[in-house]
Amino acid sequence: MSNTRPKLGDFKISNSFVTKQLVEKHGGLYGSNRPGKSIYNELPSKQALRNKLGARFTRKSLKSNRHQAEKKNKIHPQENGNVEMIPFQENEINIFEVKDRKTQWEILEILKQLPTPYSVRKELRDKLFSGSVKPRGGCSRWWYNQQLQWNKTKIFCTELGYKFELWRNSFKSIEGNQGSGVLSYFVFMKWLFFLNIFIFALQFIFILLPQVIWPTGSYATSVTGAGNSLSSDIIVNTTRANTCSALYTVNVTTASYKVVQDFLQGTGWMEKTALFYGYYSADALDLGSSNEYIMPLAYILVTIICLLVSLVQMTRHTIQSFRETLLSTSTKHSEYGNTVFAGWDFAMVDEKSAILRSKSIYNDIVSELEEEKYKQRVAMRTGGDKCKLYTIRFLINIFVLACLGGAGYGIYSITDFSASFTQSADVTSKDDLTVLLVQYSPSIVIAVLNGVVPLVFGIVVKGEDYSQPMVVKITLIRVVFLRLASLAVLIASIYVTISCSTKDGCRRGTSPCVDIPCWETYVGQAFYKLVIMEFLVEFAVTFFYELPRKLLTTKCKSNFLQKIGPAEFDVPISVLDLVYLQTLCWLGFFYSPLIPTMVVIAVFVMFYIKQLSALYCTVPAQKPYRASKSNSFFMFVLMIAFFMCCVPVGYSIYKVPPSPSCGPFRIYNDMIDIIFITYAWWPTTLYSIVDTLTSTAVIGALLILLILIIYYCSARSSVYKEMVKVLQEQLVLDGKDKAFLLARVNELTGNKGGKNEQRRERARRSPPPPGPPQLKTVNEVTPNSKKMNVSPSHTSEIKNVPPPADYDQPLNYNRADNISDARISNVGFDFD
């Protein structure tokens, strides 16, 4: 079959179902008046390639009645020179006669998706729009114009977006060099960048700007809730706040070395800046003309909104990639099909990367072969082998847990030491560098652990004898655990430090507790140091490890160095780094409102550092990172990190008493009190509505409803899975039936037409029987059987027809050698 393209002039729209028309109207098709061509080419499945949409629409038209289908104006293209294509003269709608402007646009949308050459589509489009269009009546015309305007603005906005699209050229060169797996990492980075910009914008506009611009007022009643009976049970202590704030002093030295050190530590002159929580006042800011801006309320609301928006964005992103994962795991995943058909990355441009890509596809296939061998090895494991293996695995897991525990303990003790050292009496006599190092010690310890322990995990997992994909998964899960656990331990140790029991009137610790005047600033400083450390580590890894390694291995002529080669771009670890940075941002932005700014700048600079690394310093990994497979995994890890962040922030808002010396909540006993005070000031009806809505009864009822909905959805999805299995089996059987019937039809073609009519009628009417068609039963059936069903095992009771002479022979056409298992499947169909 040559690749001739369809010519214009034969495009008509029809809604008729192909085979039905064939069978009912054009009787001579199968029979002798079409010598040399077989019906094989008229089968819908064969036509589906040429009329991709036609087949889809004709399938749909089975559901809707004829009248409805006529209105839908389906396009059914045909080939001119091909006699098999039946001219559809029944119920045709000519596209040249479409009068309605709206349907014109709809047809244009369908036209875009026709798999025909561009020139053909262009002529179709010209003909479509050349006819005169009757003007629409008033209201619908106005509505249509509105839609048109809206479409135009949408297109304009997308084009504008393309002009300003960030990093577009970078993406193209990265994709050409390293492939789409690495590109997905950069796309993820860009997504995080925009999320952080949003958080930064919210905080800047609603927290920083008002505090800087407007002067502080006094403790107004909107803040203290004084005089309102509904909020009378909330304790507000303004006098204590005033005295303690006066006592909160910071020594600021102006020596130049100290300035830099303080910048890196967040102490000294940095401590009372807008960077940290302590700067913000608890009053209602005076906007002039007796308007006020309630700072504490703004602070808490911005926090809640930022977290909610992050959650919504993550959920949206996850749903998109979740569908793909769900699809590939619920049905039988076609590994080999995926490798062969979607293995080559069409966007690759660089020659070396292309060679590497084909090598990695080769490695993929070889590793899949090894998978097969691994499966055989697993099946051959004896009982004793299994016992030994499981004990080894158990021991290794214990070892991993011990590593994690040891890391946690190390972080805890270092944090403790660092806190007590900094606040101790003789700190001024110590060397500045020592103080800096001790301040940074928790961050350094975490960074070192994050770098070294994954290597240990990588070595240890080899003893567990898992298959290769499983190894990758298990190592990744352990590294994720390590990172989240180290952060959790850090937070826990900080909490222990600040919730020490002996405190004075201003909630500052007295000995033996560490004296921390403003614990929120202290926490903010810890996260500030972590963010700086993370950024420095990324910088150092690229410039002090990957760049020298690349230079050494490519410029020096030593064999050993050539064999090591440049570093590989490790996508999973890089993505985990990004997730870690984002976790720090979420944890820290409540205590240090400018951390999102820092993260935005850090991500922006990191993009260019990583781009340098991807384009010049590293090569694509031996096993290319499959963007789709782990995309949802990383979103999942991000979600877990997000919920992990919500716990400390939520707990500190609800339970931990704020320090009276600083910050927007210094007059309260709990930070959440401002919310209660605020809506106590609302009109009584609104207040009572909100009160009932947040009562336990309503919340409990909503929870039960939610659980019921989840249960219903999961029941439905399991039903769908069953249906998919049943339909797959049906598909296989239908295919076999089709093969059998075609074989019989072609064998009997050229005989009387009447017999073909009957056969076609029966083929149309009766459902295919269950069970595979057996050649043996065909041979055994007697010609005189009275049954009327056309089934593969009862073909000879067609009336008035003696069975053909070679009826008893097995159905041999072209591949005579492969009739195994009594299946017809191996009969070849080499017609044409």
Partner: protein
């Protein structure tokens, strides 16, 4: 906008510039309607484009998208090709053209020979013949639902719908 590709106006202009850069003496700055179809850049020039140079399927791609099947592409064919490979093209039309590209003997079926040729292109002839036949058998085992030893378009579409990487990899940025 009455366009029947998946591109915006700016992208179409950009693609025209790239097309013209391939062979400026043959392609006028201003093409009327008839000329976009008539003037064809030969295959040898097109295959040197950076986007296509390293692609093992570039010959099949040009053959599939060129109207006469020879590989010489007019501007319409060129635009069509990149439109199908763009991000905005839906999965259906990409599947159709992927099937045509992998169908080396153009019989509208992917039989064993087509699959073998595909594999050899992908791995640049590095696999041994028994590995090739093993993989081909595996693919047919997974995808060939009606057991006729070849993949029809419906079966191919079924494989692609379960392939999570297809949309990511079947994409060219220009």
């Amino acid at each position: 906008m009455k366009d029947c590709t998946f591109f915006t106006r700016k992208e179409i202009l950009r693609i025209f510039r790239r097309y013209r850069e391939l062979l400026p003496e043959m392609v006028p700055l201003d093409m009327t309607n008839g000329e976009t179809n008539r003037i064809k850049i030969p295959f040898e020039t097109i295959r040197k484009m950076p986007e296509l140079k390293e692609n093992p399927f570039h010959q099949r791609m040009c053959e599939v998208f060129s109207e006469d099947g020879s590989g010489n592409m007019s501007y319409d064919d060129f635009l069509d090709m990149f439109s199908v490979f763009s991000e905005a093209a839906p999965r259906d039309i990409k599947t159709v053209y992927a099937f045509r590209i992998y169908d080396f003997d153009t019989d509208n079926y992917l039989n064993k020979k087509d699959l073998e040729k595909t594999l050899l292109c992908l791995t640049r002839n590095e696999l041994t013949s028994e590995e090739v036949s093993f993989v081909v058998d595996k693919v047919l085992e997974e995808a060939d639902l009606d057991d006729d030893g070849m993949l029809s378009f419906i079966e191919f579409e079924h494989v692609i719908s379960r392939s999570p990487d297809f949309l990511n990899t079947f994409h060219i940025r220009i």
